[in-house]
């Protein structure tokens, strides 16, 4: 078994190395000669308290240096296959390739780096919260494919209740409805022992059907029901004036702060409290946990319901955190990307958050690049987060380990 695994890992490393070499060649042949002039990255606005000078990078030379570096890393990975730092080298390689790509796209123009980083955080929110919901439920061994539906339910409820009773009420209702669908999922898979993936697919289809139905049946006619207030950004005094970091981290709306706080809370809960230890025991060895007197069913119910609440909060971002209006199927696969973030983050809340930032970056990058007017068709840029998800899921699986009992129903004797 371990020989097989080693072989698979070696092959993975070789593929990673080949990818890096390929990227290096691509940069040197196609992008470097094309990048004439300097790329100007704006770091602050002239009105800021402490303005910082722009970051100016000479296009061609920078890309040549990066492509040489990529080729070096790639050859190293390829030849020494299975090296200890393989995934880290791949990560660094991809990161500098993206930097080179950005310089290529910006060459001869100027571009607000701070603005893009700010958008990265905003766009990471639903993915991070979806991933967090995934962590909470998979840690008690319930696979939650239904996160997409829970996000959608949160978005819908946020818009509906937010329009009727204001933003705060909308947020509370979104969390409650998310929790309700978490509870339904728990009931289906724990009590009625339905297959977890089918139960998740059911939740997705049901929420999609219900919200689309109400949206076309009711919202079309009563538009006032679908016009919720949007949460404004909250500037944190002093901290928000720090150049670059200030606008990125300390001038955001409650969803961004909420995602960070929830990730911290979940980490504390899972790894530093008694209940968290019990939850993880249920996820790894339900039989043993049961023997020790832990109520497996109740633990799963509680955790999956809380996961639903987190997803409901994340769903409210789509309406109360951005446009204030619900559109059919507006979550656009973010829940599934959240699951990929969970895997990428190795079933750890902070890991999921960091992974979500990577996806958020891909998402905001494609949006800003479309504005810069690169020769790459916008459809391909829009694919970037999805391709990134596939690469991540293919690249880190086998290195990360799911909770041992993940996906298995538990039958008490």
């Amino acid at each position: 078994m371990s020989v097989l695994l080693d072989k698979a890992r070696q092959r993975q490393t070789r593929i990673s190395g080949a990818i890096l070499i390929g990227l290096g060649v691509l940069l040197a042949v196609f992008m470097a000669p094309d990048a004439t002039g300097v790329a100007t990255f704006r770091l602050s606005r002239p009105t800021d308290v402490w303005p910082v000078p722009n970051l100016v990078v000479p296009g061609g030379p920078f890309i040549y240096v990066i492509s040489a570096l990529l080729a070096f890393l790639g050859v190293r990975l390829f030849l020494r296959g299975g090296a200890k730092w393989a995934s880290m080298i791949l990560g660094i390689g991809l990161a500098i390739a993206v930097a080179a790509f950005l310089v290529w796209a910006t060459a001869g123009k100027s571009f607000s780096l701070t603005g893009m980083l700010q958008a990265t955080l905003v766009r990471a929110v639903p993915i991070a919260l979806g991933g967090l919901a995934g962590v909470l439920s998979e840690r008690v061994a319930v696979v939650n494919i239904g996160i997409e539906g829970m996000l959608l339910a949160g978005a819908f409820t946020g818009a509906l209740v937010g329009s009727l009773a204001g933003g705060i009420a909308g947020l509370v209702a979104a969390v409650a409805v998310g929790g309700m669908f978490g509870f339904i999922l728990a009931a289906l898979v724990v009590t009625y022992r339905m297959d977890q993936i089918i139960a998740g697919v059911f939740i997705n289809l049901f929420v999609l059907g219900l919200t689309s139905y109400i949206s076309s049946q009711v919202f079309q006619e009563y538009r006032a029901l679908n016009n919720a207030p949007v949460f404004r950004t909250i500037k944190i005094p002093l901290l928000s004036d720090v150049p670059v970091i200030g606008p990125v981290f300390f001038n955001q709306n409650i969803f961004v702060y909420g995602a960070f706080i929830l990730a911290g809370l979940a980490t504390y809960y899972l790894f530093h409290t008694r209940h968290g230890l019990r939850a993880r025991a249920v996820g790894e060895q339900p039989r043993a946990a049961d023997t020790l007197g832990i109520n497996v069913y109740r633990t799963r119910y509680v955790n999956v319901t809380v996961a639903g609440m987190v997803a409901g909060f994340g769903g409210a971002w789509f309406t109360l955190g951005s446009v204030g209006r619900f559109d059919e199927g507006m979550t656009g696969g973010r829940g599934f990307i959240g699951l990929a973030a969970m895997i990428f983050g190795r079933w750890h809340p902070v890991g999921a958050l960091l992974a979500a930032l990577v996806f958020g970056f891909a998402d905001s990058l494609q949006q800003k690049l479309a504005l810069l007017g690169t020769p790459i068709p916008s459809e391909f840029l829009a694919m970037a987060p999805y391709v990134a998800t596939i690469v991540v899921v293919a690249g880190v699986v086998g290195r990360a380990r799911a909770p041992a009992a993940d996906g298995k129903p538990y039958v008490k004797e």
């Binding site: 009590t191 599934f336 459809e379 391909f380």
Partner: protein, 374 residues
Amino acid sequence: MSDMTDHATKGRLLGRSKVEDLVIVPLFALVAALILGAVVMVATGVDLATIGRSYVALLQGSVGSVNAISETLTAALPLVLAGLGLALGFRAGLFNIGAEGQVVMGGLAAVVAGVALGDLPAVIALPGAILAGAVTGAFYAGIAGWLRAATGAHEVISTIMLNLISYRLLDYLLRTPLIQKEGRADPISKSVPEVAELPRLLTFLDPNLRLHAGIFLTLAMVALAYWLLFRSKLGFEFRASGENAVAARFAGMNASLTIVLAMAIAGALAGIAGANQTLGVLGRATPGFSAGIGFDAIAVALLGRSHPVGVLFAGVLFGALEAGGRQMQVDAGVSIDLIGIIQSLIIVFIAAPLLVKALFPWGFRRDQTKEGGS
């Protein structure tokens, strides 16, 4: 996959008899889902008379006339085709959510091939176009299969991402000069030439009847899938890996190859479903032409218990719901999205037998195996 998937997707529900399992449970699921659908309508302020009228329209629009039956079958064909592919995957233990993307790619490829073969006689052009759809679908699904086999990437996530990618790819390709209709700025493909179209069958009755020759293709594929699954060595390997992957490996079966092949065949069938739409119904490819067929097909495969004949009947039922739903929207002004709710409820009633038993303890008396045992 867990034991419960076996129950839910492979036709055994806690020791019920065959008749109960194959006829009564689906029938019950349909009725219960329709009742809950009515509850949803009441909750959204639809009055009782309209609810009555909408269900009458649902019935009329699905089986009430020759045209309704033609529409039902036309809507059922792609669902059956894609559902067959998904059913094969389920049997092999693969939860392929990617039929939607495979339908998109297959349908588009069929249009491209049909246009390219437009000068040839129909005996070459039509099979060529269908084959192009099948091969493209197989290739697209094969990506997810290969990723699963080579790296362990879970097919649920990779196929969903491939679905999302396929929409963008379609939007892009429809604007390329090779595919885009001449003189148009919007994304729309060239029309399929007549030689590559699936001919309509009932035009002698009424020129508006849309039922086309895809029905023969679909029936042939049902038979082929049955043969493949239950009469061929490959199908045995699929089922063996689905039932117990470890045992299958120790019996000398190549697990990676089985995964890739199962995904590719599933993709080929979904690709044919796409070709069936573009060559038989739409005559061209447009953004969103797949219309969620790949997602409905998941429900069809589950409802049909991953058995080719079951999938055929489930597909016809869902086709009837869709055709009737359109009538419902026109006659009673109730949004067709209601059908989506009903379909998802049917899934839950089929796949959660314990829930059904808890809700209706008097309904299903037989319980031969120990509760929860397999």
